[in-house]
Symmetry: C3
Subunit: 144 residues, 3 copies
Amino acid sequence: MRAIEQLKYRYTRCLDLKQWDGFADTLTADVTASYGAQLSFSGRDAVVEFMRSSLGPAIITVHHLHHPEITIDADEASGTWYLQDTALITEQRMLLRGAAFYDDTYVRTDAGWRIARTGYVRSYESIETLPESWKLTANRWAAA
Amino acid sequence: MRAIEQLKYRYTRCLDLKQWDGFADTLTADVTASYGAQLSFSGRDAVVEFMRSSLGPAIITVHHLHHPEITIDADEASGTWYLQDTALITEQRMLLRGAAFYDDTYVRTDAGWRIARTGYVRSYESIETLPESWKLTANRWAAA
Amino acid sequence: MRAIEQLKYRYTRCLDLKQWDGFADTLTADVTASYGAQLSFSGRDAVVEFMRSSLGPAIITVHHLHHPEITIDADEASGTWYLQDTALITEQRMLLRGAAFYDDTYVRTDAGWRIARTGYVRSYESIETLPESWKLTANRWAAA
Protein backbone atom coordinates (compact mmCIF):
# COMPACT_ATOMS: atom_id res chain seq x y z
CA MET A 1 0.00 0.00 0.00
CA ARG A 2 2.93 2.30 0.77
CA ALA A 3 4.37 1.43 -2.65
CA ILE A 4 1.21 2.57 -4.41
CA GLU A 5 1.12 5.78 -2.42
CA GLN A 6 4.75 6.46 -3.36
CA LEU A 7 3.92 5.76 -7.01
CA LYS A 8 1.16 8.34 -6.99
CA TYR A 9 3.31 10.90 -5.16
CA ARG A 10 6.02 10.42 -7.76
CA TYR A 11 3.45 10.84 -10.56
CA THR A 12 2.42 14.17 -9.06
CA ARG A 13 5.90 15.36 -8.19
CA CYS A 14 7.16 14.69 -11.72
CA LEU A 15 4.07 16.33 -13.20
CA ASP A 16 4.46 19.53 -11.21
CA LEU A 17 8.25 19.59 -11.73
CA LYS A 18 7.76 19.00 -15.48
CA GLN A 19 10.05 15.94 -15.35
CA TRP A 20 8.45 14.09 -18.23
CA ASP A 21 10.64 10.98 -18.25
CA GLY A 22 9.99 10.39 -14.58
CA PHE A 23 6.30 11.09 -15.15
CA ALA A 24 6.14 8.58 -18.03
CA ASP A 25 7.76 5.93 -15.85
CA THR A 26 4.77 5.90 -13.47
CA LEU A 27 2.38 4.79 -16.24
CA THR A 28 1.82 1.52 -18.04
CA ALA A 29 2.32 1.62 -21.80
CA ASP A 30 -1.40 1.18 -22.39
CA VAL A 31 -2.62 3.46 -19.60
CA THR A 32 -5.93 5.24 -20.02
CA ALA A 33 -6.47 8.63 -18.45
CA SER A 34 -9.57 10.74 -18.12
CA TYR A 35 -9.34 14.19 -16.55
CA GLY A 36 -12.82 15.58 -16.19
CA ALA A 37 -15.43 15.52 -18.92
CA GLN A 38 -13.33 16.80 -21.81
CA LEU A 39 -9.85 15.28 -21.59
CA SER A 40 -9.32 11.57 -22.29
CA PHE A 41 -6.18 9.84 -23.47
CA SER A 42 -5.20 6.31 -24.40
CA GLY A 43 -1.62 5.17 -24.04
CA ARG A 44 1.38 6.51 -22.17
CA ASP A 45 2.70 8.49 -25.12
CA ALA A 46 -0.57 10.36 -25.53
CA VAL A 47 -0.79 11.26 -21.85
CA VAL A 48 2.82 12.42 -21.63
CA GLU A 49 2.64 14.36 -24.88
CA PHE A 50 -0.47 16.19 -23.73
CA MET A 51 1.11 17.18 -20.42
CA ARG A 52 4.43 18.13 -21.97
CA SER A 53 2.85 20.35 -24.59
CA SER A 54 0.30 21.92 -22.23
CA LEU A 55 2.40 22.63 -19.16
CA GLY A 56 5.31 24.84 -20.12
CA PRO A 57 7.31 27.02 -17.73
CA ALA A 58 4.68 29.79 -17.83
CA ILE A 59 2.17 27.50 -16.14
CA ILE A 60 2.87 26.65 -12.50
CA THR A 61 0.86 23.63 -11.35
CA VAL A 62 0.36 22.29 -7.84
CA HIS A 63 -1.45 18.98 -7.42
CA HIS A 64 -2.02 17.73 -3.90
CA LEU A 65 -3.46 14.29 -3.29
CA HIS A 66 -5.36 13.43 -0.15
CA HIS A 67 -7.23 10.59 1.50
CA PRO A 68 -5.95 7.44 -0.22
CA GLU A 69 -8.48 4.62 -0.04
CA ILE A 70 -6.63 1.72 -1.68
CA THR A 71 -7.63 -1.91 -2.15
CA ILE A 72 -5.08 -4.50 -3.29
CA ASP A 73 -6.03 -7.79 -4.95
CA ALA A 74 -2.85 -9.73 -5.75
CA ASP A 75 -1.14 -7.90 -8.64
CA GLU A 76 -3.93 -5.42 -9.21
CA ALA A 77 -5.16 -2.61 -7.05
CA SER A 78 -7.68 0.18 -7.13
CA GLY A 79 -7.74 3.43 -5.27
CA THR A 80 -9.55 6.68 -4.79
CA TRP A 81 -7.83 9.95 -3.94
CA TYR A 82 -9.12 13.43 -3.25
CA LEU A 83 -7.32 15.99 -5.38
CA GLN A 84 -6.82 19.69 -4.84
CA ASP A 85 -5.14 21.46 -7.70
CA THR A 86 -4.03 24.97 -8.47
CA ALA A 87 -2.62 26.32 -11.71
CA LEU A 88 -1.13 29.75 -12.17
CA ILE A 89 -1.12 30.84 -15.79
CA THR A 90 1.41 33.55 -15.17
CA GLU A 91 1.37 35.45 -18.44
CA GLN A 92 -2.40 35.84 -18.44
CA ARG A 93 -2.46 36.31 -14.64
CA MET A 94 -5.13 33.64 -14.36
CA LEU A 95 -5.72 31.33 -11.40
CA LEU A 96 -7.35 27.93 -11.86
CA ARG A 97 -8.49 26.05 -8.76
CA GLY A 98 -10.31 22.81 -8.37
CA ALA A 99 -11.02 19.62 -6.47
CA ALA A 100 -11.80 16.15 -7.76
CA PHE A 101 -12.07 12.52 -6.76
CA TYR A 102 -9.64 10.24 -8.54
CA ASP A 103 -10.53 6.64 -9.36
CA ASP A 104 -7.43 4.68 -10.36
CA THR A 105 -6.32 1.15 -11.07
CA TYR A 106 -2.75 -0.05 -10.63
CA VAL A 107 -0.88 -3.14 -11.75
CA ARG A 108 2.23 -4.73 -10.32
CA THR A 109 4.89 -5.10 -13.01
CA ASP A 110 8.43 -6.46 -12.87
CA ALA A 111 9.55 -2.89 -12.25
CA GLY A 112 7.01 -2.27 -9.47
CA TRP A 113 3.52 -0.81 -9.35
CA ARG A 114 2.39 1.33 -12.27
CA ILE A 115 -0.76 3.33 -13.01
CA ALA A 116 -2.98 1.41 -15.47
CA ARG A 117 -6.02 3.64 -15.43
CA THR A 118 -6.52 7.05 -13.91
CA GLY A 119 -9.39 9.44 -14.03
CA TYR A 120 -11.29 11.89 -11.94
CA VAL A 121 -14.65 13.53 -11.56
CA ARG A 122 -14.39 17.14 -10.54
CA SER A 123 -16.29 18.52 -7.58
CA TYR A 124 -15.58 21.90 -9.08
CA GLU A 125 -13.11 23.84 -11.16
CA SER A 126 -12.96 27.61 -11.32
CA ILE A 127 -10.93 30.25 -13.10
CA GLU A 128 -10.43 33.86 -12.20
CA THR A 129 -8.19 36.79 -13.00
CA LEU A 130 -5.63 37.51 -10.31
CA PRO A 131 -6.06 40.90 -8.65
CA GLU A 132 -3.78 43.82 -9.50
CA SER A 133 -2.01 43.58 -6.16
CA TRP A 134 -1.04 39.95 -6.76
CA LYS A 135 2.59 39.27 -7.48
CA LEU A 136 4.90 36.30 -7.47
CA THR A 137 7.66 36.52 -4.89
CA ALA A 138 9.17 33.17 -5.88
CA ASN A 139 8.89 31.13 -9.08
CA ARG A 140 10.89 27.98 -9.74
CA TRP A 141 10.60 28.55 -13.50
CA ALA A 142 11.32 32.27 -13.50
CA ALA A 143 14.55 31.90 -15.47
CA ALA A 144 13.02 29.73 -18.15
CA MET B 1 -4.42 2.94 12.37
CA ARG B 2 -5.08 2.57 8.64
CA ALA B 3 -8.66 1.63 9.47
CA ILE B 4 -9.19 4.84 11.42
CA GLU B 5 -7.68 6.91 8.63
CA GLN B 6 -10.00 5.23 6.13
CA LEU B 7 -12.96 5.93 8.40
CA LYS B 8 -12.16 9.61 8.51
CA TYR B 9 -11.59 9.76 4.74
CA ARG B 10 -14.96 8.12 4.19
CA TYR B 11 -16.57 10.63 6.58
CA THR B 12 -15.16 13.48 4.51
CA ARG B 13 -15.83 11.93 1.13
CA CYS B 14 -19.48 11.28 1.99
CA LEU B 15 -19.84 14.78 3.45
CA ASP B 16 -18.48 16.50 0.33
CA LEU B 17 -20.43 14.19 -1.99
CA LYS B 18 -23.62 14.77 0.05
CA GLN B 19 -24.05 11.01 0.55
CA TRP B 20 -25.88 11.22 3.85
CA ASP B 21 -26.42 7.52 4.48
CA GLY B 22 -22.74 6.82 4.02
CA PHE B 23 -21.91 9.82 6.17
CA ALA B 24 -24.23 8.62 8.96
CA ASP B 25 -22.57 5.20 8.90
CA THR B 26 -19.24 6.68 10.05
CA LEU B 27 -20.75 7.93 13.34
CA THR B 28 -21.83 6.21 16.52
CA ALA B 29 -25.49 6.66 17.44
CA ASP B 30 -24.55 8.87 20.39
CA VAL B 31 -21.76 10.83 18.69
CA THR B 32 -21.07 14.36 19.81
CA ALA B 33 -19.80 16.91 17.34
CA SER B 34 -18.52 20.43 17.85
CA TYR B 35 -17.54 22.52 14.83
CA GLY B 36 -16.01 25.74 16.08
CA ALA B 37 -17.51 27.89 18.80
CA GLN B 38 -21.11 28.01 17.58
CA LEU B 39 -22.08 24.60 16.25
CA SER B 40 -22.52 21.66 18.60
CA PHE B 41 -24.64 18.55 18.12
CA SER B 42 -25.48 15.49 20.17
CA GLY B 43 -26.41 12.24 18.45
CA ARG B 44 -25.98 10.94 14.91
CA ASP B 45 -29.40 12.10 13.77
CA ALA B 46 -28.73 15.69 14.81
CA VAL B 47 -25.36 15.81 13.06
CA VAL B 48 -26.66 14.29 9.85
CA GLU B 49 -29.78 16.44 9.80
CA PHE B 50 -27.73 19.60 10.21
CA MET B 51 -25.40 18.67 7.36
CA ARG B 52 -28.19 17.50 5.08
CA SER B 53 -30.23 20.65 5.56
CA SER B 54 -27.26 23.03 5.36
CA LEU B 55 -25.32 21.61 2.43
CA GLY B 56 -27.55 21.53 -0.63
CA PRO B 57 -26.35 21.38 -4.23
CA ALA B 58 -25.75 25.15 -4.33
CA ILE B 59 -22.98 24.78 -1.73
CA ILE B 60 -19.83 23.02 -2.91
CA THR B 61 -17.67 21.89 0.01
CA VAL B 62 -14.13 20.57 0.00
CA HIS B 63 -12.69 19.23 3.25
CA HIS B 64 -9.11 18.01 3.22
CA LEU B 65 -7.63 16.30 6.25
CA HIS B 66 -3.92 16.33 6.95
CA HIS B 67 -1.39 15.14 9.51
CA PRO B 68 -3.13 12.31 11.38
CA GLU B 69 -1.70 11.84 14.86
CA ILE B 70 -3.60 8.81 16.16
CA THR B 71 -3.25 6.88 19.42
CA ILE B 72 -5.01 3.53 19.87
CA ASP B 73 -5.82 2.03 23.27
CA ALA B 74 -7.56 -1.33 22.74
CA ASP B 75 -11.06 -0.55 21.44
CA GLU B 76 -10.78 3.21 21.82
CA ALA B 77 -8.62 5.68 19.98
CA SER B 78 -8.03 9.37 19.81
CA GLY B 79 -6.66 11.45 17.00
CA THR B 80 -5.86 14.94 15.85
CA TRP B 81 -6.10 16.08 12.24
CA TYR B 82 -5.34 19.34 10.53
CA LEU B 83 -8.26 20.46 8.37
CA GLN B 84 -8.34 22.76 5.38
CA ASP B 85 -11.80 23.51 4.12
CA THR B 86 -13.29 25.51 1.31
CA ALA B 87 -16.96 26.20 0.62
CA LEU B 88 -18.31 27.85 -2.48
CA ILE B 89 -21.76 29.32 -1.94
CA THR B 90 -22.45 29.56 -5.62
CA GLU B 91 -25.64 31.60 -5.71
CA GLN B 92 -24.21 34.33 -3.50
CA ARG B 93 -20.77 34.01 -5.12
CA MET B 94 -19.19 33.71 -1.70
CA LEU B 95 -16.02 31.84 -0.79
CA LEU B 96 -15.44 30.48 2.70
CA ARG B 97 -11.97 29.26 3.62
CA GLY B 98 -10.55 27.98 6.84
CA ALA B 99 -8.22 25.75 8.76
CA ALA B 100 -8.72 23.93 12.05
CA PHE B 101 -7.32 21.25 14.30
CA TYR B 102 -9.66 18.31 14.86
CA ASP B 103 -9.68 16.40 18.15
CA ASP B 104 -11.58 13.13 17.77
CA THR B 105 -12.27 9.94 19.63
CA TYR B 106 -13.10 6.66 17.95
CA VAL B 107 -14.53 3.37 19.19
CA ARG B 108 -14.24 -0.10 17.70
CA THR B 109 -17.69 -1.59 17.16
CA ASP B 110 -18.78 -4.92 15.70
CA ALA B 111 -19.01 -3.15 12.34
CA GLY B 112 -15.57 -1.55 12.62
CA TRP B 113 -14.27 1.77 13.91
CA ARG B 114 -16.74 4.63 14.26
CA ILE B 115 -16.43 8.29 15.24
CA ALA B 116 -17.63 8.77 18.83
CA ARG B 117 -16.65 12.39 19.31
CA THR B 118 -15.44 14.94 16.82
CA GLY B 119 -14.69 18.59 17.16
CA TYR B 120 -12.32 21.25 16.03
CA VAL B 121 -10.85 24.57 17.00
CA ARG B 122 -10.38 26.89 14.07
CA SER B 123 -7.09 28.57 13.35
CA TYR B 124 -9.10 30.88 11.15
CA GLU B 125 -12.16 31.09 8.98
CA SER B 126 -12.76 33.80 6.41
CA ILE B 127 -15.46 34.76 3.94
CA GLU B 128 -15.19 36.91 0.87
CA THR B 129 -17.11 37.78 -2.26
CA LEU B 130 -15.69 36.16 -5.37
CA PRO B 131 -14.37 38.61 -7.95
CA GLU B 132 -16.32 39.45 -11.08
CA SER B 133 -13.93 37.50 -13.27
CA TRP B 134 -14.47 34.30 -11.26
CA LYS B 135 -16.45 31.57 -12.94
CA LEU B 136 -17.03 27.88 -12.48
CA THR B 137 -15.73 25.75 -15.34
CA ALA B 138 -16.88 22.50 -13.74
CA ASN B 139 -19.48 21.77 -11.06
CA ARG B 140 -20.50 18.28 -10.03
CA TRP B 141 -23.89 19.60 -8.92
CA ALA B 142 -24.57 21.86 -11.87
CA ALA B 143 -27.55 19.84 -13.05
CA ALA B 144 -29.16 19.67 -9.64
CA MET C 1 8.29 5.65 8.95
CA ARG C 2 5.17 6.52 10.95
CA ALA C 3 7.43 8.00 13.64
CA ILE C 4 9.07 10.34 11.15
CA GLU C 5 5.71 11.41 9.77
CA GLN C 6 4.49 12.15 13.29
CA LEU C 7 7.65 14.16 13.95
CA LYS C 8 7.03 16.33 10.93
CA TYR C 9 3.34 16.77 11.78
CA ARG C 10 4.31 17.86 15.28
CA TYR C 11 6.84 20.31 13.83
CA THR C 12 4.10 21.87 11.71
CA ARG C 13 1.43 21.80 14.39
CA CYS C 14 3.68 23.53 16.92
CA LEU C 15 4.78 26.06 14.29
CA ASP C 16 1.24 27.03 13.35
CA LEU C 17 0.09 27.02 16.99
CA LYS C 18 3.11 29.14 17.98
CA GLN C 19 4.15 26.57 20.60
CA TRP C 20 7.84 27.30 20.49
CA ASP C 21 9.03 24.81 23.10
CA GLY C 22 7.28 21.99 21.31
CA PHE C 23 8.61 23.27 17.99
CA ALA C 24 12.20 23.36 19.33
CA ASP C 25 11.86 19.79 20.55
CA THR C 26 11.46 18.50 16.98
CA LEU C 27 14.92 19.77 15.97
CA THR C 28 18.45 18.62 16.71
CA ALA C 29 20.65 21.17 18.48
CA ASP C 30 22.75 21.62 15.35
CA VAL C 31 19.91 21.58 12.82
CA THR C 32 20.30 23.51 9.60
CA ALA C 33 17.26 25.03 7.93
CA SER C 34 16.87 26.68 4.55
CA TYR C 35 13.52 28.15 3.57
CA GLY C 36 13.72 29.30 -0.01
CA ALA C 37 16.55 31.34 -1.44
CA GLN C 38 16.81 33.99 1.27
CA LEU C 39 16.33 32.37 4.67
CA SER C 40 18.97 30.03 6.10
CA PHE C 41 19.67 29.23 9.72
CA SER C 42 22.19 27.15 11.60
CA GLY C 43 21.32 25.69 15.00
CA ARG C 44 18.08 25.11 16.82
CA ASP C 45 18.21 28.39 18.70
CA ALA C 46 18.52 30.40 15.50
CA VAL C 47 15.60 28.63 13.83
CA VAL C 48 13.32 28.95 16.83
CA GLU C 49 14.25 32.57 17.46
CA PHE C 50 13.51 33.48 13.86
CA MET C 51 10.09 31.81 13.96
CA ARG C 52 9.21 33.21 17.38
CA SER C 53 10.10 36.76 16.43
CA SER C 54 8.51 36.60 12.95
CA LEU C 55 5.23 34.85 13.68
CA GLY C 56 3.31 36.80 16.25
CA PRO C 57 -0.44 36.60 16.85
CA ALA C 58 -1.17 39.00 13.97
CA ILE C 59 0.18 36.43 11.49
CA ILE C 60 -1.92 33.31 11.01
CA THR C 61 0.05 30.54 9.34
CA VAL C 62 -1.20 27.25 7.90
CA HIS C 63 1.39 24.73 6.70
CA HIS C 64 0.11 21.51 5.17
CA LEU C 65 2.50 18.72 4.28
CA HIS C 66 1.72 16.21 1.58
CA HIS C 67 3.21 13.21 -0.17
CA PRO C 68 5.89 11.90 2.19
CA GLU C 69 8.58 9.97 0.35
CA ILE C 70 10.83 8.73 3.16
CA THR C 71 13.88 6.47 3.09
CA ILE C 72 15.32 5.06 6.32
CA ASP C 73 18.91 3.85 6.64
CA ALA C 74 19.48 2.61 10.21
CA ASP C 75 19.54 5.73 12.45
CA GLU C 76 19.38 8.21 9.62
CA ALA C 77 16.59 8.98 7.20
CA SER C 78 15.81 11.35 4.39
CA GLY C 79 12.49 12.52 3.12
CA THR C 80 10.77 14.77 0.65
CA TRP C 81 7.42 16.44 1.33
CA TYR C 82 5.20 18.67 -0.76
CA LEU C 83 4.25 21.80 1.17
CA GLN C 84 1.30 24.10 0.73
CA ASP C 85 1.39 27.13 2.96
CA THR C 86 -0.82 30.11 3.59
CA ALA C 87 -0.12 33.12 5.78
CA LEU C 88 -2.63 35.79 6.65
CA ILE C 89 -0.97 39.04 7.74
CA THR C 90 -4.10 40.34 9.33
CA GLU C 91 -3.15 43.95 10.08
CA GLN C 92 -1.96 44.60 6.53
CA ARG C 93 -4.75 42.44 5.08
CA MET C 94 -2.18 40.55 3.03
CA LEU C 95 -2.37 36.94 1.88
CA LEU C 96 0.75 34.91 1.19
CA ARG C 97 0.38 31.58 -0.60
CA GLY C 98 2.93 29.12 -1.82
CA ALA C 99 4.02 25.59 -2.53
CA ALA C 100 7.43 23.97 -2.15
CA PHE C 101 9.23 20.66 -2.07
CA TYR C 102 10.97 19.90 1.24
CA ASP C 103 14.18 17.89 1.36
CA ASP C 104 14.91 16.80 4.94
CA THR C 105 17.24 14.55 6.85
CA TYR C 106 16.35 13.00 10.19
CA VAL C 107 18.39 11.27 12.90
CA ARG C 108 17.28 8.82 15.54
CA THR C 109 18.25 10.06 18.99
CA ASP C 110 17.69 8.59 22.44
CA ALA C 111 14.53 10.69 22.58
CA GLY C 112 13.27 9.56 19.15
CA TRP C 113 13.61 10.92 15.64
CA ARG C 114 14.58 14.57 15.23
CA ILE C 115 14.97 16.88 12.22
CA ALA C 116 18.67 17.33 11.43
CA ARG C 117 18.36 19.27 8.20
CA THR C 118 15.34 20.82 6.58
CA GLY C 119 14.98 22.96 3.52
CA TYR C 120 12.74 23.58 0.60
CA VAL C 121 12.72 24.88 -2.93
CA ARG C 122 9.61 26.83 -3.73
CA SER C 123 7.49 26.07 -6.77
CA TYR C 124 6.01 29.49 -6.22
CA GLU C 125 5.17 32.04 -3.60
CA SER C 126 2.77 34.91 -4.10
CA ILE C 127 1.45 37.83 -2.10
CA GLU C 128 -1.69 39.82 -2.63
CA THR C 129 -3.93 42.29 -0.85
CA LEU C 130 -7.15 40.76 0.40
CA PRO C 131 -10.29 42.18 -1.21
CA GLU C 132 -12.48 44.65 0.62
CA SER C 133 -15.20 42.06 1.12
CA TRP C 134 -12.81 39.70 2.91
CA LYS C 135 -13.31 39.28 6.63
CA LEU C 136 -12.28 36.85 9.31
CA THR C 137 -15.18 34.99 10.88
CA ALA C 138 -12.93 33.03 13.24
CA ASN C 139 -9.40 33.68 14.48
CA ARG C 140 -7.69 31.60 17.14
CA TRP C 141 -5.49 34.55 18.10
CA ALA C 142 -8.18 37.21 18.04
CA ALA C 143 -7.89 37.95 21.75
CA ALA C 144 -4.12 38.20 21.71
